[in-house]
């Protein structure tokens, strides 16, 4: 597809070809109160075998993005425009039947809450087998064997027995494993994990993240991991996309995002997190204010009402809408000139992190 995005970085394996390319994606929901611009002009690329982390607060549009990629807004009132190109094919332009053939086989999804994403009336095995048989013309017995293998792969003990149990008989961590098994049963090239560990305890979260990393190595698939936990992306992602009010505000290599972030919102996220690995020095620094309304977002830069570095007189933060060079290696949606941002980070933000 487009230009190579990644900068050379030492130890990382060079990524393959661009697998998913999203350009100027817009998702809008007409409501009684007005048009909700849930995703507003989002662009990014993802290469084969790499992991993209999407971070943001609730209402920033991260889950809507993933569901739009999966085509889950078809048949609803949502208005979608832009380009979602998966391996050269525009997913938005596909007929329903063609999309159905790809969904689950090429792109699979792991949802946040496995108890509501699994059907309570069918056994776990039934649901994994169904996912497989939709895309493969095999016998029931072969599909069942495949499901048992898959459950075994994701670390469910005694899979031959567990396959006939219902979701309520599984613990939270086991259900999430079963969901992952279901997502991976067709060897998808892209897995979208939407807050896969938010409902889980840290000890189980560690197991699940470990599992995802291991399976990615084994299958070579790409992962989009959506989360609000910066620790999870630090562990998983090669590249990170920060979203605010339906737009990308910063994107870059994980290293850069954590050690040289440039957007004031990213700074705010890093500063407002308490750190477990250090002695406490002082109070937390929250980002003041609340996330904006998506019906009537603020004029100019959407973050300006909460930004401590805004300069209306000089930069016009309240009027001018900052651009976002989606093809640059480290694009930032901010009006402050780059060298000034870098300086501000080094002198003012970094000492306090």
């Amino acid at each position: 597809m487009s230009i190579a995005l990644s900068v050379e970085s030492g130890e990382r394996a060079p990524g393959g070809a661009v697998l998913l390319s999203v350009r100027d994606l817009r998702v809008r929901f007409p409501t009684e109160d007005g048009l909700v611009k849930a995703v507003d002009g989002l662009s990014f690329d993802l290469r084969q075998g790499e992991t993209l982390g999407i971070v943001g607060e609730s209402g920033s549009g991260k889950s809507v993005t993933s569901q739009a990629i999966m085509g889950l807004y078809r048949g609803t009132r949502a208005e979608i425009s832009g380009l979602i190109s998966f391996d050269g094919v525009d997913l938005l332009g596909l007929a329903d039947e063609d999309l159905r053939r790809r969904r689950g086989k090429d792109v699979a999804m792991v949802f946040q809450d496995p108890l509501s994403a699994l059907h309570p009336y069918y056994t776990v095995g039934n649901q994994v087998v169904e996912a497989y048989r939709v895309h493969h013309d095999t016998t029931k017995a072969a599909a069942r064997q495949r499901a048992i293998d898959m459950l075994d792969r994701v670390g469910i003990p005694n899979p031959a027995k567990r396959i006939d149990q219902y979701p309520h008989e599984f613990s939270g961590g086991m259900r999430q494993r079963a969901m992952i098994a279901m997502a991976l049963v067709n060897d998808p090239r892209l897995v979208i994990a939407d807050e896969p560990t938010t409902a889980l305890d840290v000890t189980v979260q560690a197991q699940i993240l470990d599992l995802l990393v291991g399976l990615q190595k084994e299958f070579g698939s790409s992962i989009i991991i959506i989360t609000h936990d910066l620790g999870v992306v630090a562990e998983m992602a090669n590249e990170i996309l920060v979203m605010y009010a339906g737009r990308a505000v910063e994107r870059g290599e994980a290293e850069e995002l954590f050690y040289a972030p440039e957007h004031p919102y990213t700074w705010g996220l890093l500063q407002s997190m308490p750190r477990m690995d250090r002695l406490r020095i002082e109070r937390l620094r929250p980002i003041p204010g609340n996330p904006p309304s998506l019906i009537s977002p603020p004029s100019g830069c959407a973050f300006h009402p909460r930004c401590t570095f805004r300069d209306d007189a000089r930069l016009g933060c309240a009027q001018v809408e900052p651009g976002f060079e989606a093809d640059a290696p480290h694009p930032v949606r901010c009006l402050i000139p780059r060298d000034e941002r870098t300086r501000t980070f080094q002198t003012q933000i970094r000492p306090s992190l």
């Binding site: 086991m174 305890d201 840290v202 470990d210 002082e282 937390l284 929250p286 003012q348 000492p351």
Partner: protein, 397 residues
Amino acid sequence: MNATPSPEVPSGRPADAPSEVPSGVPAGARPDEGSPAGPPGRRRFSGRRTETGNRVELGEVLLEVEDLKKYFPMKTSGLFRRPADPVKAVDGISFRLRKGETLGVVGESGCGKSTAGRTILQLLPPTAGTIRYKGRDITGVTGHDLRMLRLEMQMIFQDPYGSLNPRQTIGSIVGAPFAIQRIDPEGGVKAEVQRLMERVGLNPEHYNRYPHEFSGGQRQRIGIARAIGLRPSLIVCDEPVSALDVSIQAQVVNLLEDIQNDFDLTYVFVAHDLSVVRHISDRVAVMYLGKIMEMADRDELYGDPLHPYTQALLSAVPLPDPRKENKRARILLTGDLPSPINPPSGCVFHTRCPRFREELTEQERKRCVEEVPAQVPLDADHGVACHYAGPAAAPVL
């Protein structure tokens, strides 16, 4: 079982330093939702401080919990109703809280941390054990005494949606404690409620609004205003910030600290987020299957965890720091939490314990399976309920 403190514990909060705004931060970077300029940073310590090696104790003992147990009976169906084994949600915990202190309680879901908080407040009747408040035994008080106790002890709930009545205005929610206790504050209830609303960063003009008109963070502020109305001494916070986004979470954590300073509050802070707990607590207790596994001063617990469970828990938290994250060893626990109906014999953690599995000899293991480790005592500086407590093989943070 008290571990001898090592002399070189990586500790040392700047003692009582009213840590000023670091020079690098722009002025106005912290118009911290209208909080008064109290000293930032915390200043209360209890137990042993490592700077001087002396034990510094501040404040009188406010709350003493001794061998507290809470079992939930299980009903069995069928012709013969024989009592089944109860769920041992809290199974013998002890601790002591001094005035102005914050005790963080952490653990996985189902470890009994919330039940412990509720039992302390007498929202649930304890099965066994004693709770002493200001030296008075309050276990199982009822009626008038219980109502008087509510003046002193309050609770902040996790779910800001479920804990506010959707059909009441904010004014009547925050004013309810005054009505129930038949207290008439100076200047009338409405003025007092509006003062409280202002104190927690809400607009007093929203007195007549309903909970659905507020965001999650604002609702949590309403819950806080309700809890501090009667000037209690002890507040049990049950996961008060878990449902909030990071930036909002930080606002609420700061608010909790401010009102603690203003009203000299003592907190029991129940949470599963280990980072928030380290930030806000003075001491931290780690629970597993209804028991306290380890309890210590916060920096000691995070810097020098001695119980294998604490070590596993800390190592499981991903840090927002990729370079550090890549170098860290992770202790993976296998399997799920055992059932609290039928907890493992001996040490309840032995079925998942990495030390049990990898480091101990057959003889030593026998002890873990058969002998219950001594409970963490009431007044431990650094208590560990493990037969083979000791530092982890590799640093966990």
